[in-house]
């Protein structure tokens, strides 16, 4: 669950910014969390940059096992749909 980690990182970064802006911490502690904040920020950015845009389909193979395979436009068959949008 990469999303949860990203969310936690962002939340922590927000908390750090809040603490730094509050200015109540001694300098050495500020520096410590500042470094942490910059590290988090880099990591978050990296997650966003590295994120691969993927669309997959969860299919059942002949053994009844579920597998992921890439989703193609062929998978969308609007013709056969009885639904309206």
């Amino acid at each position: 669950m990469a999303g949860v980690k990203f969310e936690q990182a962002m939340a922590r970064l927000e908390a750090i910014v809040g603490e730094l802006e509050n200015g109540d911490l001694p300098l050495d502690e500020s520096l410590k969390i500042f470094e942490e904040g910059i590290r988090l920020s880099r990591n978050c950015l990296k997650v966003l940059e590295d994120a691969e845009r993927k669309v997959e389909v969860l299919v059942q193979d002949t053994n009844g096992k579920k597998q992921l395979r890439a989703f193609t436009s062929d998978d969308i068959d609007v013709q056969g749909s009885a639904e309206d949008s």
Partner: protein, 433 residues
């Protein structure tokens, strides 16, 4: 014969009444009595018909039924064998919906406390829907428009028809098992309430309630409400709305991340600056203090010097005073006085002596003068001048009056020199001499 006659003559009857004495033994057949104000009849629903029932039978439920008359021969009772039941006044589906909703609600499946919040930054979104509908297209489009880097896993399922409910439930469980899915959208596009029915099925509702991954339901249109919506953590009105709820806008995240980073640096910089200023201030302060210490030291030095000077002056003055006093004391010494006084003593003595002599002389002169004057006064002096004093004898009284004496008496005449004893011859008392 009766039975055959009944079953042919009353092969299809329609009845309306209230269900009572409902019994459901293990066989799966259902037994009850249908009654209205004036009459009643036994009814049986065989298992084959019972499983087709969309809703549950309840005591007191008003129903419209179709069946055929028959005879239960062991008891000789005639009964109606029901093959179709419809709740009176509303559809079977509506009733089933209400019954299931009530049951699952009582079980706590729809409790607000059980709801999970959606992740703010999902990385992977699972979609349980038909692969052939417009819904899946809309979902992918909106999700990627907002967040182009989202991973999407589609679990294709039939969303209506027999077995669809089981497949929907299975897909939800499968996506949970993958372990990478942050949030699941379960739904389909619009349709009739029959079309949407799978999302009211207990198995789907339970799968949604049990999901550890947060679920957004998006079934049909705004006005369509299914039990899946009650069980889901969040209900979206449409699939597109679900995609909007689930996917954050990537540009906003990037912007926020940039903003947070900038604020982080800004805050750190300003704290550093602030500390630097404080340090400068402290240093300046320390310089001041050093200057002040020097000044104070100087003052102390001055004070010490002044004190030394003052003490010295004081001492000097004291010495002078002491000398003066010694002098004064010495000049007032009793010895000195005595010595001076002693000098006067002989002088005084001679003066005393002189004074005494003088006084003596004067006194002697006075004495002589008095003596002279006394001599003049003395009767003896008178006698010198020839007077004599007559005295009685004996008695020695001075005779001043002739009467004092008588003739013949002896009297004594004292003279300047010697005395004469006289005898009185005559006494004349006249004063003439």
């Amino acid at each position: 014969m009766v039975r055959a006659s009944l079953e042919t003559d009353f092969a299809e009857v329609w009845l309306e009444g209230e269900i009572s004495n409902l019994r459901a033994p293990g066989s799966g057949h259902l037994y009850c009595t249908l009654k209205d104000q004036t009459s009643q009849i036994r009814a049986v629903i065989f298992r084959s018909a019972a499983v087709r029932l969309r809703f549950g039978l309840e005591e007191g439920l008003q129903v419209v039924v179709k069946g055929r008359l028959s005879v239960y021969e062991p008891r000789g009772e005639y009964q109606v064998i029901l093959d179709h039941l419809e709740p009176k006044g509303r559809g079977a589906l509506q009733l089933a919906f209400e019954q299931l909703k009530r049951r699952l609600e009582a079980e706590g499946l729809f409790d607000v406390e059980g709801k999970q919040s959606l992740p703010a930054f999902p990385r992977t979104v699972g979609i349980v829907t038909s692969p052939t509908g417009a819904a899946v297209r809309d979902l992918i489009t909106v999700l990627h428009r907002r967040c182009p880097i989202l991973s999407i896993i589609i679990a294709p399922v039939p969303v209506q028809g027999a077995g669809s409910a089981e497949q929907i439930a299975a897909a939800i469980q499968a996506l949970n098992r993958l372990g990478v899915v942050d949030v699941i959208i379960v739904g389909r596009g619009g349709g009739s309430s029959e079309d949407l029915w799978s999302f009211n099925e207990e198995t789907v509702v339970r799968a949604i309630a049990a999901s550890r991954v947060p679920i957004v339901s998006a079934v049909g249109h705004e006005t369509d409400v299914t039990l899946a919506d009650f069980a889901a953590d969040v209900r979206a009105a449409t699939p597109s709305a679900a995609a909007e709820l689930v996917a954050p806008v990537l540009t906003e995240i990037v912007e926020r991340l940039g903003m947070l980073t900038a604020r982080c640096q800004q805050a750190m910089t300003s704290q550093c600056l602030e500390q630097h200023q404080r340090l400068d201030l402290l240093l300046a302060h320390m310089g001041n203090i050093r200057f002040r210490i020097l000044k104070e030291a100087q003052r102390v030095d001055g004070a010490v010097a002044g004190m030394r000077e003052a003490v010295r002056a004081h001492l000097k003055q004291a010495m002078v005073n002491a000398q003066t006093w010694t002098h004064a004391l010495r000049s007032k010494s009793p010895v000195l006085h005595v010595r001076q006084d002693l000098l006067i003593v002989p002088q005084l003595r001679s003066r005393v002596i002189a004074a005494m002599n003088h006084s003596l002389k004067r006194k002697t002169q006075h004495t002589y003068a008095y003596l002279g004057r006394l001599k003049g006064l003395s009767p003896l002096a008178i006698l010198d001048r020839g007077y004599g004093i007559l005295e009685t004898m004996p008695g020695g009284q001075i005779i001043r009056d002739a009467g004092q004496v008588s003739v013949g008496e002896e009297i004594l005449a004292r003279l300047a020199r010697g005395q004469i004893r006289c005898t009185v011859e005559e006494v004349r008392l006249d004063p003439s001499v």
